[in-house]
């Protein structure tokens, strides 16, 4: 009851403040308002949904969607844009936490099987989705005049984007539910592996598309690709080592230091054309596996810092969900989403069978791979900017898919984790004296 009252009061405050702003006033400072409102109201919505056995992340997303510019408009379009500033920081923090979860000694016995399953699953998925998109081409609303190499390259690009997973959502759900076990580790390994493949494939396929459409090709593509992948790992490892030294020799104000390190990695990553997700993952790996000093303090700091960042990140994602895209291209998106899920289900089963992953884990892992989010959106924005004639259609389609998968994915993954028994049950509160 207290929580519902607090939620109602917070929404009323948000509505009142936004309604008070004069439409003629020059660009009001909305970021802090959006942050505060999202932190409280989204967290409360997440709690309410958790009581209904749904993931908190879905609650944060739903809050953003309901209060966002397409429905309630309490979070206005400019506020939703302001909230996006947290994206870079959130992705880095989430990846850093993922790195901290990856203990080499613990994972070593299963690494070979994971790599085998990842390879088989991703190869089969690309083939299956490419075939499905080739067959469904007339229904996708693309430029009908595209044929031959142009059509092939666009379908390859669409396959790459549609086949992508969301490491961010997967990692966030693991972090917020404190899940651990074989399914958690396998899903985590698969999404990170797929993210590496995505960067590789997208860069190569974009070269093919540029060639097909007669554009200029970047001869230094492999250099930049190598820099993006290996440079990111090296940069992240160096940052991780410095942070480990800080933990060992200073060990103060760890939450603030952690946020500062993540912000620096996000900023430097952009400036140096590195992949922040890979860099942060490497930093987390180094801290976990090489310098284990300050483990408990770090865990506490991570828990304290991660929660607000996750809440705002997903609320912002919910507010930015382009529901109009879903309305425009809904039927095609739903059909394509069903095909994608079917492909994930079938190929993960085949991959698990090939790699001899235990039956229960192998049958549940597909549920952890449905989510799609920011990385995919970033890629289609690049496509739409470079090829506006057909890229806008690709963008609309993929944005609608993201909207669907952001809502369905976390629910499915949490259900899988619950079924696998990998979410710890909360300890009962101590009885009052």
């Amino acid at each position: 009851m207290h929580r519902l009252l607090a939620l109602a009061l917070t929404v009323a405050i948000g509505w009142f403040v936004v309604a008070q702003a004069s439409p003629t006033s020059p660009a009001p400072r909305s970021t802090a308002l959006a942050l505060g409102f999202a932190l409280i109201a989204a967290a409360l919505t997440g709690e309410l949904l958790e009581r209904m056995r749904l993931p908190r992340v879905t609650g944060y997303l739903l809050f953003g969607m309901i209060c966002g510019p397409y429905v309630g408009n309490i979070i206005t379009r400019s506020m939703a844009r302001d909230l996006q500033f947290i994206n870079g920081l959130a992705v880095v923090l989430i990846a850093f936490i993922a790195g901290l979860e990856m203990n080499y000694a613990r994972l070593r016995p299963r690494m070979r099987a994971m790599a085998q399953m990842g390879t088989v699953t991703i190869v089969l998925m690309y083939v299956a989705l490419f075939g499905a998109l080739w067959v469904a081409w007339p229904l996708l609303g693309m430029d009908p005049e595209l044929d031959g190499l142009q059509r092939l390259s666009v379908i390859a690009l669409l396959t790459t984007v549609v086949a992508s997973f969301s490491p961010t959502v997967t990692l966030a759900l693991i972090a917020e539910s404190r899940a651990s076990g074989p399914l958690t580790e396998l899903t985590l390994a698969l999404v990170i592996f797929a993210d590496l493949i995505l960067i590789l494939m997208f860069t190569l396929v974009m070269q093919l598309v540029r060639y097909a459409f007669g554009g200029t090709q970047d001869v230094g593509v492999f250099v930049s690709l190598s820099w993006e992948i290996f440079g990111s790992f090296a940069f992240g490892a160096a940052v991780g080592a410095i942070f480990a030294l800080y933990l060992r020799h200073v060990g103060k104000e760890i939450p603030v230091a952690l946020i500062a390190v993540c912000a620096a990695m996000a900023g430097a990553g952009r400036q140096l054309h590195l992949e922040p997700l890979l860099a942060a993952l490497a930093a987390g790996l180094v801290v976990e596996n090489i310098a284990t000093a300050g483990g408990e303090m770090l865990k506490e700091a991570v828990e304290r810092s991660a929660l607000p960042v996750l809440v705002v990140f997903f609320a912002a994602a919910g507010a930015a969900l382009q529901l109009d895209a879903l309305a425009t291209i809904g039927v095609v998106a739903v059909a394509l989403s069903a095909v994608r899920m079917l492909a994930i289900w079938a190929t993960t089963r085949a991959g698990a069978a090939y790699a001899r992953i235990d039956r229960e884990t192998g049958s549940l892992v597909w549920m952890g791979l449905v989510s799609q989010a920011g990385v995919t959106l970033g890629l289609v924005l690049i496509v739409a900017a470079e090829f506006p004639t057909w890229g806008i259609t690709v963008q609309t389609l993929v944005v609608a898919l993201i909207a669907l998968h952001q809502l369905i994915g976390p629910v499915l993954f949490r259900a899988a984790l619950v079924r696998a028994g990998e979410i710890p049950t909360p300890e009962p509160a101590p009885a009052a004296p």
């Binding site: 004069s22 802090a32 505060g36 509160a429």
Partner: protein, 369 residues
């Protein structure tokens, strides 16, 4: 000249020893360190903090302003509940300081006819409000009764400038009638505090409690900043309500905020330093501001000691010379709502705070009584 310099150095060293013996800070006040650091990092220095970066830090400034307001509300609420006479004395001290600085500055501005983009009265009142805040001397419980009283006065004398400041910010932002703006500021603070009380009071999980405290403070700062009002006043009202609300909300909030207090204050000061832009008007305001503030504090302290004669020392004003961060926070708030005209004010207040901290070394209270 050399012997005079040596004599000055000996005097300064002796004062430092004396302040140390009294338990007062020597020269390590954050204002003295971080305002120059901010200036060095800002667009006027090496440019690491560009105008774009300062735009991002604006979010943090709003949150830091609200945090300061909450801290003062918590401290003042706890004090005012027990020592009403000290509250009256502190308010009188603040009022005298505001009056001294306002009157003297207005006279000077009119006499010199300093060209400013805003009316002289508004500038003089703003400087008066910035001058009225003082930093509390550090107190170990029960160690020194006089210093403890001075610390309480320093906490309580921030309330009047914050309330007046709430009205001035509403005037400066021109968002509507000033009194309506001030009333909305108070109502917002109380509403967010009520929502916070509902959230923190029964929560067990530390991380979740921290999240809701952070959310409430951000909402306090954000709502006020969005409407062009004073986040310090919304914070003050919220902190005040949390003290009087049933339960332990005030302790929960204080404990959570202590974890972010230092980084926020440092960021606030660095932002203030980086936002400094030299202006002739600001330069002309600086010297008089420091002198009038010192005079106001000494007279105000004496007035307060007359009102609470049995507990407050007669040289109370000497304890209240260090300005702390509230004055700078208020000047930053003004520069948020009226950036085009606030440059000279921020320049005078920020550098005036540094100068006052240094001046505080020379104005030392009597050690034995």
């Amino acid at each position: 000249v050399t012997s005079q310099l040596l004599s000055l150095a000996r005097h300064a060293a002796s004062n430092l020893r004396r302040r140390a013996a009294l338990g007062l800070r020597p020269v390590t006040a954050p204002v003295v360190v971080f305002i120059p650091v901010g200036f060095a990092l800002g667009p006027g220095g090496i440019g690491l903090l560009s105008h774009g970066a300062l735009g991002y830090l604006d979010v943090v400034v709003s949150i830091a302003l609200a945090t300061l307001g909450v801290f003062i509300g918590l401290a003042a609420g706890a004090e005012a509940r027990h020592v009403r006479r000290l509250f009256a004395a502190s308010t009188a001290e603040a009022l005298v300081t505001v009056g001294c600085v306002f009157g003297a500055t207005l006279f000077l501005l009119r006499t010199w006819n300093v060209p400013l983009a805003v009316p002289h009265g508004v500038v003089a009142l703003t400087l008066g409000i910035c001058a009225a805040a003082s930093a509390a001397p550090h107190v170990e419980g029960g160690v020194d009764r006089v210093r403890e009283i001075a610390a309480r006065v320093a906490d309580l004398d921030d309330i009047l400038p914050i309330v007046l400041g709430g009205i001035v910010v509403a005037v400066a932002s021109a968002a509507g009638p000033p009194l309506t703006g001030a009333a909305i500021t108070v109502l917002l603070g109380l509403a967010v505090a009520l929502s916070g009380w509902l959230l923190f009071e029964r929560r067990q999980d530390e991380a979740e409690r921290g999240l809701f405290v952070l959310g409430s403070i951000t909402l306090l700062g954000g709502a006020a900043a969005f409407l062009g009002l004073s986040p310090i006043l919304t914070g003050l009202c919220a902190g005040w309500l949390w003290v009087f609300a049933p339960g332990r909300t005030n302790f929960v909030v204080a404990r959570e905020l202590h974890k972010v207090q230092h980084p926020l204050v440092v960021l606030l000061l660095i932002t203030a330093g980086a936002s400094l832009e030299y202006s002739t008007a600001g330069f002309w305001l600086l010297g008089p501001y420091v002198a009038f503030r010192l005079t106001g504090k000494l007279i105000g302290g004496w007035t307060a000691s007359r009102i609470a004669a049995d507990i407050a020392p007669s040289d109370l004003g000497a304890y209240l010379v260090p300005p702390g961060v509230i004055g700078i926070a208020f000047a930053l708030n003004i520069s948020q709502v009226a950036p085009a005209v606030s440059g000279p004010l921020l320049f005078a207040v920020a550098l005036g705070a540094v100068a006052s901290e240094i001046l505080a070394m020379a104005v030392t209270p009597t050690p034995e009584r």
